[in-house]
């Protein structure tokens, strides 16, 4: 359990002709909440998409739960099963007919070849438990398309919860929520993290939240500028390196 869940060494990712992420190295220890901060276009989303195998990487090494990720994004299915990814603005076509129960069930499935009725009772039970934990069991028959922003985020957390996981990767997960729903989301996320022993790697723009609740922080602007505890890393000097001096002056006058 004390092994790091994620080890990244000298990772370089190209987007078309330029290096969006260059020579980034860090580790995510088990059970810790690590935030990635940096300005727009700094390569934060690119970085996590490469770690998940959504984008291919050019050079470097990535180990997820001790298993190497190939540059094209291949990872053993047993490892995949223990990771969950919540994308930035989970926008989907609302005309797709799917109920809350069906959607959360997708988080439980192994997604190889399987009979459509596989799992049966165990699947139903896991879905019910996950929905109860995020206080959304009453929504199970609802179409996902009618959910409010806050409800949708809770359902996404249930999708992560429905099977034991070790690493959660969030790309600005609360984007689009109002202040109150956002703090609700974080309260639930941190509670679940404690209960489940999840390690979290999350891209965030909310530096105050990062200071308050993250264990570690990575400042990124194409390259890794600094890493460490929020108090150590989010100094005016480092923020100035990441976001530019204008931003720091603004933050200090607040």
């Amino acid at each position: 359990m004390n092994d790091p869940v994620l080890v990244v060494k000298g990772l370089t990712v190209y987007r078309e002709t330029y290096a969006a992420v260059q020579d980034v190295s860090f580790t995510v220890p088990a059970g810790m909440d690590t935030a990635i901060v940096g300005p727009n276009g700094a390569g934060k989303s690119t970085l996590i998409q490469a770690i998940l195998g959504i984008l291919p990487y050019r050079s470097g090494e990535v180990f997820v739960l001790g298993q190497p990720l190939s540059p094209k994004g291949k990872l053993p299915p047993a490892v995949r099963q223990q990771i969950a990814y919540l994308p930035q603005n989970f926008l989907f076509d609302r005309r797709i007919p799917i109920t809350v129960r069906e959607f959360v069930g997708l988080g439980w499935d192994r997604l190889g070849l399987q009979l459509p009725w596989a799992g049966g009772q165990a699947r139903r039970h896991a879905v019910q438990q996950a929905l109860t934990q995020v206080d959304a069991w009453h929504l199970y028959q609802q179409p996902v398309s009618v959910l409010s922003g806050g409800e949708l985020k809770r359902i996404l957390l249930a999708y992560c919860l429905v099977r034991p996981r070790r690493l959660l990767v969030l790309d600005e997960a609360p984007a689009g929520l109002d202040v109150r729903s956002e703090s609700e989301f974080y309260r639930l996320l941190h509670q679940l993290k404690k209960d489940q022993g999840w390690a979290i790697l999350q891209v965030s723009h909310d530096l105050d939240m990062v200071r308050r609740s993250c264990d570690r922080v990575l400042c990124i602007n194409r390259t890794l500028l600094c890493q460490g505890t929020p108090d150590h890393s989010l100094t005016p000097e480092n923020l100035s390196l990441a976001y530019g001096p204008e931003f720091v002056r603004y933050r200090h006058s607040c």
Partner: protein, 298 residues
Amino acid sequence: MALSLFAIAILASLANFSTMTIQSEFTRVIDLFQLPFMHRALMGSVLTGFMGGLMGSFTILRQLSFFSDTLGHSALLGISIGFLLGLDPGWVLLPFAVIFALGVTYFLERTRLWTDALLNIIYSSSLSIGIILLSFRDDYKGGITHLLFGDILAMRTTDLIFSSVLLVVCAIFIGLTLRSQILLTLHEPMAIARGVSVSAQRTAFIVLLSLVVGISIKAIGVLLISAFVVIPACAARLLSRTFAQYILISAGLGALGAAIGMMVSAFFDLPSGPSIVTAQLAIFLLAMLAPNRRKLAL
């Protein structure tokens, strides 16, 4: 509504007949049902309708409706190439449809222009080239209507066997990869993060879709084939709440529409493709009127 128009037309024509003619009409219908071509046509339409609905359910959600239209139009090019090479067009069509579909997919991924604009170029040019090639064959000019709008007599026993095999393959494919297909349709990066091989799944789906389109062309015709894939799925969307229901209803309505259409085509001596599409339209309109539409929250 279209169904009720059908009914009115039937009643009106019946009213004009004396009892004698009603009897003779009835005998004609019974006789028609005993003809082997009618058996093949009905079975073939049910098989292809079922497949069309099954594959159509994912086709419309992935916004591949226009893609299937392009595949259908390009089939005429495949048929005319078959004629020019002196081969049986039926057998040239299927490999052609698969290669064409994969080629178009590759082309769409490589360019940065709008997908619908590119598909427009592809379908109109392949249709044009197909018609030009066919015009070199004087003996086939009369057959163009059948190619464009379907021919009830074209269903052969080999087609039925091939349709049955293809239906089983499609059902097994959709069944075994159902969860991956759903997640892929909902959110591609989330599916990749879970280890779903997007390119393999997408290629397999497109190969099957092109085979379904290729095999259904004979009954429905080049111009209307995409409706055959799109309409049952849209009707099913109006009637279903869960994804599982949606797929099953889509396949069922596909088969129902095809069977009704084929019978209407035989009884009234109408081209089979338009008859099937009109029957499917009637089902779609009924689905729009269905009371549980509100539950959908579209």
